[in-house]
Structures are given as C-alpha cells and as structure tokens.
C-alpha cells in the first residue's frame, strides 16, 4: 500500500510532464489538421469562385452593381400601375390554383406510393424481405432523378400542361418520402403486428391497423413539409413549360419592360403563397409533433 503510493509519488512529476507534452502534441496536431482542412476549404472556395466567375457570361463584380436594377424597374413600374395590380392578381389566380393543385396532387400520390415503398423496404415489416434492397434502390433512383428531367421528357410525350409536372414531382416525392417514412417505420412497435397476425390478418391489414396508427402523425408531418417544397418545385417546373404560375412568369418576363406589372403581380402571388403555406404547415406540424389534441 505504502509502496504503491511511494512509487506513484516518485513518478508523479514525470507522468505529469508526459501527459502535458502529449496533450500539447495532441492539441498541436489537432490545430494542424484543423488549419489544413480550413486552408483546403478556403482554397476550394476561392478557386471555385474564380472558375464560376470566369465561366459566367457576366462577371460577379460588374453584376453586383446591377443586382438592384431589375427589381427596381419591376417595383417602380408596378408602383406606377398599382391601381391595376388587384385586377392582375385576380387574372393570375387560376394559374396559382393550378400550381398549388400540381403540388397537392403530387404530394398525395407521392406520399401514397412512398408509403407502400417504405413499408416494403423496412426490415421487420417487409412483405418480401429479400426484395428490400430492390425497393431501396428504386427509391434512391426516384429521388436522384431531378424533377425537371422527368417533366421535360413527359412534356415531349404528353404535351405541355400540369400532368407532366405532377407526375414528375410525384415520382420524386415518393422517393424522398419513402426514405423518411421507412426511417420512422423502423422504430415502430411490432407487438400490434404480432397481435394482428395471431388473428390471421393479412399483411396489408397488419400494416393498415398495426403500423399506420403508430406512425401516422410523423408521416403527415413529413408529407406537409414535402407539400411546401413541392409548391416551389411546381412553380419552377412551370417555368420550363409545365403550366401554372411559373409558365405565366416566363411569359411576363419575355414581354420585358411595359409588362413588369404582370411580373410583379406573379412575384407577389408566389411569395404570398409560399409564406402562407409555410406558416400553415408549420403550425399543423407543431400540433402533430407535440401531440396537441384539440
């Protein structure tokens, strides 16, 4: 006992030194790595900035002076013709409804498909456990293909209009929601499923009655978040010819000065819609996740 304390005491200063030096070394190494990472990052940013600047039609610094020009033109013209603005908003309201409809239907269809795909690709729930990787890869690919690609190809086949955009967004939504749904479903309690199975329930019945009630609040919350994203996507797809507000925006832009009040009205509608649904779904989701029962 006393031996141990004695020997410990003897080697005390040495070990403190060793600890200190090794600590300092560690700190130094950490600093070096941190510094190197930061340097590489800074280098990448600068090099990337220069490359992007060189390959852009207009340079960054010249463009910076003109950033305000277009909004200023639009705003001043819209202000001059402010009396006509309500009429324009009424005129473009149907286009807005179309944009929202595209997003809503795509969310509903995509969520439905994503639900099925997620259940089929979750361990413990899958109908055919061997096919889990197949369904997972399917969802990966559905998520990876940008909506615009599917939309453009479908526009070529089906002609312009809301349906190509709807299908394109729905496919992407199914992939994205499927992944999130499956993560939620992994944590679901399997006991209700066993109980149902003991009564002879089929797989679909087991999922519908045993799993869905557990995960529904989370699923609805994710679907609402997706709906927000899809409104933006649907506006963008309109810009490449899929109808709705984006399409009107492109036309208004093509007219240029003189029709800036149209552009302003569309900007206003789009902005308002996005904020509105943002707030609405935020409130809804809060209620769902905190389990607030009305």
């Amino acid at each position: 006992m006393s031996d141990a304390t004695l020997s410990g005491h003897n080697s005390g200063p040495a070990s403190v030194d060793a600890i200190q030096s090794s600590y300092l070394q560690q700190v130094q190494r950490k600093r070096l790595y941190g510094g190197l990472t930061l340097m590489i990052f800074a280098l990448l940013m600068v090099a990337g900035f220069m490359t992007a600047d060189a390959r852009n039609a207009g340079g960054f610094w010249e463009g910076l002076h003109n950033v305000g020009d277009y909004p200023a033109d639009v705003l001043s013209e819209a202000w001059e013709k402010r009396a006509a603005l309500p009429a324009l908003i009424v005129k473009y309201f149907p286009a807005l409804v179309e944009t929202i409809n595209i997003a809503a239907v795509a969310t509903i269809l995509g969520a439905g498909l994503g639900l099925i795909l997620s259940l089929l690709s979750t361990r413990g729930l899958a109908r055919w456990p061997r096919l889990i990787p197949v369904f997972r890869r399917t969802m990966d690919i559905m998520r990876a293909i940008p909506e615009i690609v599917i939309a453009l190809v479908l526009i070529f086949v089906l002609g312009g209009g809301p349906v190509p955009a709807m299908i394109a967004i729905a496919i992407h939504t199914a992939g994205a929601l499927g992944k999130m749904f499956s993560e939620v479903a992994e944590n679901a309690d399997l006991k209700p499923l066993e109980g149902l199975a003991s009564t002879g329930a089929t797989w679909a019945q087991g999922m519908w009655l045993g799993i869905l009630p557990q995960v529904a609040p989370n699923y609805v919350s994710y679907a609402l978040l997706r709906f927000e994203i899809n409104i933006r996507a649907s506006a963008i797809l309109g810009f490449v010819g899929a109808g709705g507000l984006g399409y009107e925006l492109r036309n208004a832009m093509a007219w240029g000065p003189g029709r800036f009040d149209d552009a302003a009205a569309i900007f206003l509608l789009l902005f308002g819609t996005i904020i509105f649904f943002d707030q609405l779904s935020g409130r809804f989701r809060n209620q769902l996740t905190t389990g607030g029962q009305a």
């Binding site: 852009n56 277009y70 615009i148 810009f239 900007f267 902005f271 996005i274």
Partner: protein
C-alpha cells in the same frame, strides 16, 4: 348505482369516440377521392390520352438505346454518303462503308430480315420487302414515280413528292432530291471514338498494350485526347458541365452557411437580447426563403447573365434564409453550462461564442450543411436549366432539340450517378461527424 352511471357514461364516451373515428376514417379518404376526381377533370386527364404523342414516346424509347445509320443518295450527282445519326460528325470517311452495304454500280443495302434496298444508277431504287413484294421507284426532278398499288398498307405513306416506308428493320424515304435509308442498331455508336479518330474500332487491350496506332502520339495520350474531344458525345464538355453543377451547389451551400452563421446569432433569443434586431433578422430570413429560388434565379440572371455564378448565387441567397432559421434554432438549444464555464475564466463574449457555443453546434450544423449540399446538386441541375449553366443546360438543350435521345439518356444516367455519389459522400461524412458507424 353510481358505478353503473359511470359505466354508461364511459360507454357513451367510447361510442362517441368510435363514431368520430369511423367518420374520420371514411370522410378523409372520401375527401381525398373527391379532390382527385376534381383534379382528374381540372387537369383534363381524359383529353390527355388523345393529345399524347405515343409515336414520340416510341422514338424516345427506341432512340435512347439504339442508333441509326443513314445511307443517303443525293439524286443530283448520285453520290452516296453513310453517316451515323445522319450527322456530319458521324460520317464515314471516304472509301469506308458499313459492311451491310455491298456492290459498286448497284449498291445493295441489306437491312436485315431479307429487307433489301438497291440503289440503281439513274436515280432508280428497288426495295424488296418480304411478304409485300418488290417496289421500284424513279426519282425525276422533284417527283417520285413508283409501282405502288392504289391501296397501301399503313406503314407506307406515299404521294407524288415523297414516299416513306417504315419497316421493323429500318426506314426508307424517297423524294425527288434524295433517297434516304435508315438502318437501326442497338447500342451507342461512336461513344468512344468517331470515324475521324485513328483509334476507332480498336479494342482496349490493343490501345493499352498494342503497337502505336497513330505514329505522332503515344496510344494512351492520343486515345484519351480523341475520347475526351469526341465531337458526337462531347465527353469533355459533359464533364465540365457536371463539374459546374457541383461547383454551383458547393459555392452556394458553403457561401450560404458562412453568411448565415454570424447572422443566426442575431436571430437567436439567447444571444440577441434586443427584440428589434431579432425580429428584423428573422423576417429577413423568412423573406429570402419565401422569395424562392425561382424568383432569385430570374432576378440574378438579369444582373449576372447566364452561367454557374448566377446559379451559385441563387442557391446562396435562398439557403441563407433556410440555414439562418435552422442555425438559430440550433443555437437556442445550446447548453448554457459550457458558456458559463468559459465565462468564469474571464473570456470575452467573442471567446465565449468561439469556445462555448461553436463546439456544441458545429457537428449539427455541418451535418445540415452537408445534407443541403447533397440536395443542392439536384437543385443546381434545375437552376442550371433556367439560368443556362452546367448539366441542366445540356440536358434541356438535348431534350428540346428532340433528336439525340441517346445523349439525353446518357446525361440522365450521369445526373443520377452524380446525385447518388453526392448522397453517398454526404451520408458518409455526416455519419463520421455525428460519430455513428453506419
């Protein structure tokens, strides 16, 4: 007595609850169904079936995995050219022709399946189709005379000026000025080298280990150069475009994170006691987020012109709002104890933030940034299509020309691979940051 009352009461409650549940479980699907029915007519889905161009779909489906070689006889001088996809860049060089073309005076084109086309002198053409017989045609001036009967099958379309024959083996078009034969093959022809390259039709082992093919250059260097600058597939340009798209996402995401980080301190209740500042910063974040990438893209494209910089800035502005919101929420959830500990050593506010707050939030924030980087590579494709930069531009151009569907298929595959690679990379880095093994 009271017990039974309570029981009845409970039963009544349960009944009501069940009734509500039942109503919900029927009303909700009914509502969705009603909405979908409304959409069915609002989007004119029944009319869609009529408007849809199924022939377009067929061209698209077959063109994306096959190519056609055009044999063209210009009737003015009787010259015959062979070209892949009918493009100048895919033309067979002088003295070279596909092996399914034979003969010198009478050029016989074997389309396969006993479908034969003979190009005879004096602008005469003979076509043999099994089960239909032989068609002979004579081009004179601007008209074509044939021995076709009055009633024609639907795969032949004939007038005085133009005769078009579509068979499963290939297509034949005859006009006064030229005779064209399209022969279809599976695969992407000239993907590696065009006919102009000396390395065309040489295998990998031959290029790597064989004798020098082009005396002026070493095989590897020459082959790489010819592949990279392949005029049909433009591999070099495509690689640049993909790089541009990733660059847009990188610059936009990282720039947004760097701008949003200091601003988010102003929006967090813990660090900005002044309500006015807080509200202003939050509204600013809401505003840039609400304006949406589309509008930012349109506005910025006016100032900066088309290109990757515009796309990067559009992503930057939009994501500054999103990051600001996420970051400030993360900052509000930081643990005060660490800040107090640092403060007790006499640290100044900036040092308190640096050593008390940043280490707490960095893993969470970096994970978010990486996640956005991945999803922004996809957005950059879309934004590139609008502003004109990166793979998005190439893709929309290729789709809008409605010709080279094999290029479209190629780009789509590359985009999917790019996004999946980003997904994988960001997932790996995130897992490492949060310290999970998966």
């Amino acid at each position: 007595m009271t017990a039974t009352d309570a029981l009845i009461d409970t039963k009544g409650q349960a009944d009501r609850l069940f009734r509500r549940k039942r109503l919900m479980s029927f009303a909700l699907p009914a509502l969705v169904l009603a909405y979908l029915t409304y959409i069915f007519f609002a989007f004119d889905v029944p009319g869609l079936a009529e408007r849809a161009r199924w022939d377009n779909a067929r061209t698209l489906a077959s063109d994306s995995w096959s190519y056609k070689t055009h044999v063209t006889r210009t009737n003015r001088d009787g010259e015959i050219t062979f070209a892949v996809e009918g493009e100048r860049k895919g033309e067979y060089p002088e003295g070279m022709r596909p092996d399914w073309v034979t003969g010198t005076d009478i050029v016989t084109i074997d389309l396969g399946g006993d479908h034969l086309v003979r190009l005879l002198p004096d602008n005469r053409t003979e076509i043999e189709i099994p089960g239909f017989g032989s068609i002979s045609a004579q081009a004179e001036g601007r008209s074509v005379t044939t021995n076709l009967p009055e009633t024609l099958p639907e795969w032949i379309n004939a007038s005085d000026r133009r005769v078009a024959i579509t068979t499963p083996e290939g297509r034949i078009t005859l006009t006064g000025s030229k005779t064209e034969v399209f022969n279809y093959f599976p695969g992407w022809e000239l993907f590696w080298f065009t006919f102009a390259s000396p390395y065309y039709d040489h295998g990998v082992t031959e290029i790597l280990f064989g004798d020098r093919i082009d005396p002026a250059r070493s095989n590897l260097k020459g082959a790489w150069h010819d592949f990279w600058s392949n005029p049909m597939w433009r591999h070099g340009d495509v690689a640049w475009a993909i790089g541009e798209t990733i660059l847009m996402a990188f610059l936009g995401t990282m720039g947004a994170a760097m701008i949003a980080l200091p601003l988010s301190f102003l929006a967090a209740r813990k660090f900005a006691p002044l309500m006015l500042v807080r509200t202003f910063t939050r509204r600013l974040f809401d505003f840039v987020r609400g304006v949406d990438a589309l509008i930012w893209t349109v506005v910025l494209a006016r100032a900066f012109g088309p290109g990757p910089m515009t796309g990067a800035l559009a992503i930057l502005v939009t994501d500054t709002g999103t990051f600001g919101k996420i970051f400030s929420e993360a900052l509000e959830n930081t643990d005060d104890k660490q800040i107090e500990g640092i403060a007790s050593t006499g640290a100044k506010p900036l040092q308190r933030y640096r050593f008390g707050v940043i280490p707490q939030v960095v893993p969470v924030l970096l994970a978010q940034v990486l996640y956005f980087f991945e999803s922004n590579t996809r957005s950059a494709t879309v934004i590139g299509a609008i502003t004109g930069g990166g793979i998005g531009l190439l893709l929309t151009q290729a789709i809008q020309t409605q010709q080279s569907w094999e290029n479209v298929a190629y780009y789509i595959i590359l985009v999917v691979l790019m996004v999946m690679a980003m997904d994988w990379l960001s997932g790996k880095l995130r897992a490492k940051l949060i310290g999970r093994s998966t």
